[in-house]
Assembly symmetry: C2
Homo-oligomer: 268 residues x 2
């Protein structure tokens, strides 16, 4: 049976609201996801919230009912509440009708099965949560094995990253690693490391990419460190005809990832 909470000072509300901040997410090991679309993606990927909040007036919505039943069957707690509290939890002007609290899950490098996909996305010092979320979403679309985050990346469990991922956070494995760890793991098996760079004249459509391809994309403002570039098996550049000298990082990742996918699907 759903519990009802309508008081702003309820300690659980305060605790859940605190998950909008990284330090509290880290301490609790949980994060927030919002909206029917993302919570449905999560459910379909086998992830149910430990806590589910929904607006009382949406209790009859068929998707809300299904989420409530699935969460309860899974041993999660379901809480009926009011839009003002959902607003407080989400920080959005027009809060979603459902908000879920999920355990954050990172996949250790050693647990990755590189043979499960032809494409892996590796981001280095990605700072914008929207970019990281969008890259997760692209990873899902191209059937990537997962996203590996190198160095000081933004928290993938931040509210903005979760939103931008549109649920791909639940379908893509996420791994964090230091560069040296990553390179040691990478070189312990098959895999071609392909970096996008402005310091090369190799057109990205020139090479035939090997499987699995590890696509490495650097920080939004600085690109990849020089020694990281030197460790790549291949550096390629996306042509740019205009005045600007770079693409948005999530866009560059997607253009590259679709080229790799297109080559592999061309081959059959």
């Amino acid at each position: 049976m759903p519990r009802e909470i309508t008081g702003f000072s309820n300690p659980l509300i305060k605790r859940v609201r605190s998950l909008r901040e990284k330090k509290h997410r880290k301490r609790e090991g949980h994060f927030l996801a919002e909206g029917l679309r993302i919570l449905t993606e999560a459910e379909q990927a086998g992830h149910l919230p430990v806590l589910l909040f929904y607006a009382a007036e949406s209790a009859d919505h068929p998707i809300v009912r299904r989420l409530i039943a699935a969460t309860e069957a899974n041993g999660g707690e379901v809480i009926e509440t009011i839009p003002d509290i959902l607003h407080k939890l989400s920080g959005k002007e027009n809060p979603q009708t459902v908000i879920g609290v999920y355990p954050d899950q990172l996949t250790p490098l050693a647990a990755l099965d590189r043979s499960k996909s032809d494409i892996w996305l590796v981001v280095q010092s990605m700072r914008d949560p929207g970019n990281l979320g969008t890259i997760l979403r692209t990873g899902d679309a191209v059937g990537a094995g997962g996203v590996i985050m190198i160095d000081d990346c933004v928290d993938p469990f931040s509210v903005e990253a979760v939103r931008a991922s549109m649920g791909a956070l639940f379908t893509q494995s996420i791994t964090t690693a230091r560069w040296e760890e990553f390179m040691e793991w990478l070189r312990s098996g098959p895999g071609q490391l392909v970096g996008t760079s402005l310091n090369t004249t190799h057109d990205y459509q020139g090479p035939r990419y090997d499987s699995p391809t590890f696509l490495l994309v650097g920080n939004e403002a600085k690109g990849l460190p020089l020694d990281y570039e030197q460790s790549c098996d291949l550096l390629v550049k996306i042509p740019m005809l205009g005045k600007a000298d770079s693409l948005n990082a999530a866009v560059a990742t997607a253009v590259m990832a679709y080229e790799i996918l297109n080559q592999k699907r061309d081959r059959g």
Copy 2:
């Protein structure tokens, strides 16, 4: 000679700050752009600010000096100020060292020369300023003729859109039009209208695109209205292998735009 303003209650500061809101931008016909990178892009594209603010301590920076000289030579006003005021103007935690005020410029549909480029980007009800700015940036990169905004799109002169465009706002022409106006103009000359849609099985790499290609991308949440899709010469779909049913709108635009560009550059 630069004027100096260090008082928060200065009426000019208040007026410039008000440009962060759409209604004031509309009334004043001007918008804000921030940062050396974007202001330099603007200058290189022939756009100088009518008002240039810079932090006193950055007065010796060579790019700042060049921007000051160019702005003054162009009849613009230059104002030396303090970081706290730049912060107030930009709303950013770490304000940029320069902020410029520029006249907003839309290009009327009738003034577009469709023969000047093989690719034009047409967005319908694009609601996210980051997406619109990123699409402008992609437009610059693929050498698009410009971006045409249909129906109720977000303001391209919003601070977030200007930031995401990374200066492409100054190199891409921006046009707003109602759908009927756009279609009438489109059909008055050569041009293939290609829509991205989930309601088709045509792979986006199947067709050979005609020049000029007008790439039509719909609203982030809803995609294109059905009757708009029916008006397209071609509907295509980007393959998606994962659980999610759509890509980020700026990502979809970029993947399509690079396919079109790649076909045209393959042809020589």
